[in-house]
Each structure stands twice: as C-alpha cells, then as structure tokens.
C-alpha cells in the first residue's frame, strides 16, 4: 500500500471518530468538513439507526413538532429539537410513547408514532444544525 493511501485511511479513521463525538460544535463541524473532503459520511455509531430513516417522511412529520418547538430557538419550557443527538431523541420519544416519561402532550404526540416514524424524525432532525 502506498504511504499516501495509508495516511488517507488514518485521517479518515481519526476524523470519523471525532466527527461523531460530543466534542463541541466547532470541533465537530471542523471534523465534519474534513470528513467531507475525504468523502466520508459520519453516520456510524450514534447515527447508525437514524441514517436508515426516511428524511422526507421525517420532514413532513416534523411539521407537527415545530408548532411548539422552535427550530432555531431554545425556550424555557419547550426545548429545541434540531441538533439533538438522534439516539437521545429516539430514546426520549420511545419513553414518552411508553408513558415512562411525563408530559401529557408529548405522551399523546409520541403515542401515535410508529418506530419507522420515530427513526424518520430522528433522521430529519439530525440533518439540521
């Protein structure tokens, strides 16, 4: 193997790992940009399930969410969803659906989402910064 190819593979491994880590948005954005240069999609690990989601379906379903959750603003009682870790998002929705997490509106809204729809939403929201 040529030394340059080895270097590229090493760089890919490093960038992919850091791009998926919870290491602050600036670092993560930089790593995502480097990933893009190397043609890497950082969809392993935390985004493994969300990557399978139907983003277009998620976008349609998300219209219900944004009636209360602002896309680009954090408010005191209603959190911003965009940019949430997909696994954390899916876990929260499953917990509301199972009524293990309190909130009547969220229990009701999550209660009618099937697994495919939850993954689709996670996939869509993970595309937003």
């Amino acid at each position: 193997m040529m030394p340059t190819k080895v270097a590229v593979l090493i760089m890919r491994g490093i960038c992919k790992r850091w791009a998926l880590k919870d290491c602050g948005s600036k670092v993560r954005k930089a790593m995502l940009a480097i990933c893009a240069c190397f043609g890497i999609l950082p969809v392993a690990g935390a985004r493994a399930e969300a990557k399978d989601g139907d983003v277009e379906l998620g976008a349609y379903l998300s219209a219900e969410c944004v009636t209360c959750h602002q896309v680009n603003a954090q408010t005191e009682e209603i959190p911003q969803i965009a940019g949430l870790d997909p696994n954390a998002f899916m876990a929260a929705m499953q917990a509301y659906k199972a009524k293990q997490r309190e909130h009547p509106i969220m229990q009701m809204m999550a209660g009618r989402l099937n697994d495919e729809e939850i993954v689709a939403l996670a996939a869509y929201f993970s595309t937003l910064e």
């Binding site: 219209a63 219900e64 944004v66 896309v71 408010t75 005191e76 209603i78 009701m108």
Partner: protein
C-alpha cells in the same frame, strides 16, 4: 374507514401519474391563498418553502398586521402588549417569495378558476385555499349588529376591537357591571370566552374590586368548565355570575343606546357589554359557493372542499368533524393541505394526514390549563383519537409551567406561520 399508508401511497401514485396543472404566464402552477391567519399564513409558507420556487404562491390578506386572536385575552388582562400579539407578512415575501397582496378577495369564479380582488385585479389559480376565519351572524343577538360594535365590542377578531374592550374595562365606574353574551356552538376558540372572563376578573379584582361580571350563555356547559369554575372560585370569589341555558342565558337581547342587557325577560343596566355573536365561515367561502349552511364542508384526507376538488378550506371556516376551531387546529390542517396541494401540483410525495390540537388557557397569573387531542382522517370526518385535559387541583408549579409552556408555544406557532 381510516386512511392508512397504503391508501395514501395510492393517492400519491395517482398524483404522480396525473399531469401537474400549469398556469399561463410563469409556467409554474399557481396557488392562491385567501386569509393570512393561522391556516392561511401556514399553508402559504409551507407550500412556498417546501416547493422551493416550483409553485407560485399568492397570499391575499387585507390587514398589514395580523393580531392573533389567541393570546388577545392576555392583552385584555394587561399581561401582553398589543405589539406582542401583532405580526407582519414581510418575512413570507422575503424568505419564501410569497406574493403578499393586501386587499379583499370579493369573488371566486370556480369555472374559470380565478379570484377577483376589491381593487379589480383578477388572479388565476390552479389550487385555491380559503382560510378566511369567521364572520358574525347578524341578528343572532337581537339588538346587535356590526354597526354597534364600538358600543358593544365583540373583540373576537383581535386588534382594534381588543383595544376598545380593554379601554372600556379600564374606564368602568367603581362597582360597575361587565357583561358578556357568550356564543352558541360551534364557534372559534371554545375556551376563549371563559379565558376572557378570567382576564377581565384579573383586571377588576385589582382595579375595581366591587365590580361584577355577568355571563349570559346559550350553552348548558362549556370548554374546560370544571377548571374555570374551580379557578374562578379560588381567584375571584363572588365576582362572576354565569347564567347558562338552564337559567335563560340563551334568551338575550341588547339595547346599545341605553346600555341595557335583557336576560330571560329581566333587564339590567351594564357598563360594558361584550357581545360575541353566533359565527359562520368568512364571507368569501360563501361567495365561492363552497358552504353548506354556516360552514364549508371539507374532505378529511386533504382539507379539499366537498364541492370542488381544487378548492381547500382551512381553520375556523371549515366543517371537518371533531377538531375545535382554533389557531392550533388551523395550523395543523394547513400542513396536511400543503403536503397534498404540493403533491398534486408537482408530484412530490403525499403522506398520510395527521392532525392535532392543544388549547392553553390562563385563569389567573401563572395559573395555566390546557386541553389537547390527536385526530385521524376517516371517510366521514376528522375524528378524535386520543386526548388529555388539565385536572382540577393540580399544584401551582405545574400550572405555572403550563402557562410558561403556552408562551413558548405562542413564539413557535407564530414563527411557523410568519417566519
């Protein structure tokens, strides 16, 4: 029968196989939206945003500033400024290229498919979406019509009417009487009159504690009744007298010149008379010929009119089934409609409809309650699936959180409509 994924894939396939309708001129399909409120603003924004320029969207709205009916009671209660409930249309034009025309739509030609404006302009459409809100039924409260709304305001279309009612309440004589004539079902914002009573009581308790509030109501019960009655007894004991249908609350007439209200044959002098008449769909729905009685029946799958598949009716003006007439409902219906209209015009995917509503009400400062439900499209109507309502006796922290949540919701839904 309920709509399921298979049926909607079928509908989507049909849409894909049908040629998209192209308007003359721009070469793009044209959507005209009449009414710039929770239904109209949302549907215009979503079609323009999601079609990314593939559809020409025109929004016709006479007002330069939209004052939301939701939260207008908080303005009357002194908890919000009028500017906080006012919204403009500039971002819809700037961000999404929507052609916003401030004029009245005065006629619809469903054969030639165009809308005529009061200014004389004729706008062709491929799809027409009507979201005109409500009009009042003249004569539903004997003695009241729009010519006396300055003496006896309805304040059920927010803005100058809200400002007038608030000024009248502030100028009531000591120990005076505020009366409300409540509307019969169905009407815009079912808890709205009772939230208003709460906010008026909040003002009078602080500024005019010997004043009285009388409600003449043609209904035997009302939305969130147990919650409001419990809250009124807690926060405003002895201040509010609700006269329901059983005690003649539906037998009412008014004399605006004398400021007299007659309930079940008994006359009373009042200082403020807030008349909220019976309601019907905004006039343009009737002019378009899509109403049946007071409202415009629609198909639950996509909010299309039962009279014309190229006309859609959203929000308060439509007759759809179980959803209450609310800003939240209109916003929810608009998103289903936008997806269906865009799909039929461009071949984009059409997803199964899903509807939801939540109504928050404020009983006193930091004492918020809510009711909500999800809905599905059946062949017959939009039918309720699941729901919840706040409970009597909830602790103060939960009520405060509920109010703060409603403020967050207000910021989100108005952004969803206008930004």
């Amino acid at each position: 029968m309920t709509w399921n994924r298979r049926k909607f894939l079928g509908a989507a396939t049909g849409a894909l196989s049908a040629p998209a309708v192209l308007a003359e001129g721009s070469g793009k399909p044209r959507v005209v939206v009449v009414g710039g409120g929770a239904g109209g603003g949302t549907v215009a924004r979503y079609i323009a945003k999601d079609s990314d320029g593939a559809i020409d969207v025109t929004l016709i709205e006479p007002s330069q500033v939209y004052f939301s009916c939701f939260f207008s009671n908080l303005y009357i209660g002194g908890l919000k400024s009028i500017d906080e409930i006012g919204h403009t249309y500039g971002a819809l034009a700037a961000n999404y290229g929507i052609n916003v025309i401030h004029d009245w739509a005065v006629a619809v030609d469903r054969v030639d498919k165009n809308v005529t404006l009061a200014g004389g302009q004729v706008l062709p459409y491929d799809k027409l979406i009507l979201s005109p809100g409500i009009d009042f039924i003249e004569g539903s409260v004997p003695g009241w019509d729009l010519s006396v709304q300055t003496k006896m305001p309805h304040a059920y279309e927010a803005g100058s009417q809200s400002q007038l009612l608030r000024a009248q309440i502030e100028n009531m004589p000591e120990g005076g009487v505020y009366a409300m004539v409540a509307p019969p079902n169905p009407y815009r914002c079912p808890p709205g009159p009772y939230e208003r009573i709460s906010m008026v009581a909040h003002v009078l308790k602080a500024t005019n504690p010997t004043a009285k509030i009388v409600i003449a109501d043609p209904k035997p019960k009302f939305s969130k009744m147990a919650l409001f009655e419990d809250g009124w007894a807690t926060h405003y004991p002895g201040l509010i007298d609700w006269i329901g249908e059983d005690f003649g609350g539906g037998d009412v007439s008014v004399d605006p010149d004398q400021m007299m209200l007659t309930i079940d044959g008994e006359e009373m002098a009042v200082d403020v008379c807030n008349v909220i008449p019976a309601m019907k769909a905004g006039r343009i729905a009737e002019l378009a010929g899509v109403t049946d009685g007071r409202w415009a029946p629609v198909n639950s799958a996509d909010m299309s009119s039962k009279t014309d598949p190229d006309v859609y009716v959203l929000g308060d003006a439509c007759q759809q089934g179980d959803m209450p007439k609310s800003g939240f409902s209109a916003n929810s219906q608009a998103k289903v409609c936008a997806n269906a209209v865009r799909g039929s015009l461009t071949g984009s995917r059409i997803f199964p409809p899903r509807y939801a509503n939540t109504c928050w009400s404020l009983i006193a400062v930091n004492d918020g309650v809510k009711v909500g439900a999800t809905y599905e499209a059946t062949e017959e109507k939009i039918a309720r699936v699941d729901g919840f309502v706040s409970q009597v006796g909830e602790d103060a922290n939960l009520r405060k959180t509920t109010y703060e949540e409603s403020e967050n919701w207000y910021a989100a839904i108005t952004a969803d409509m206008f930004h």
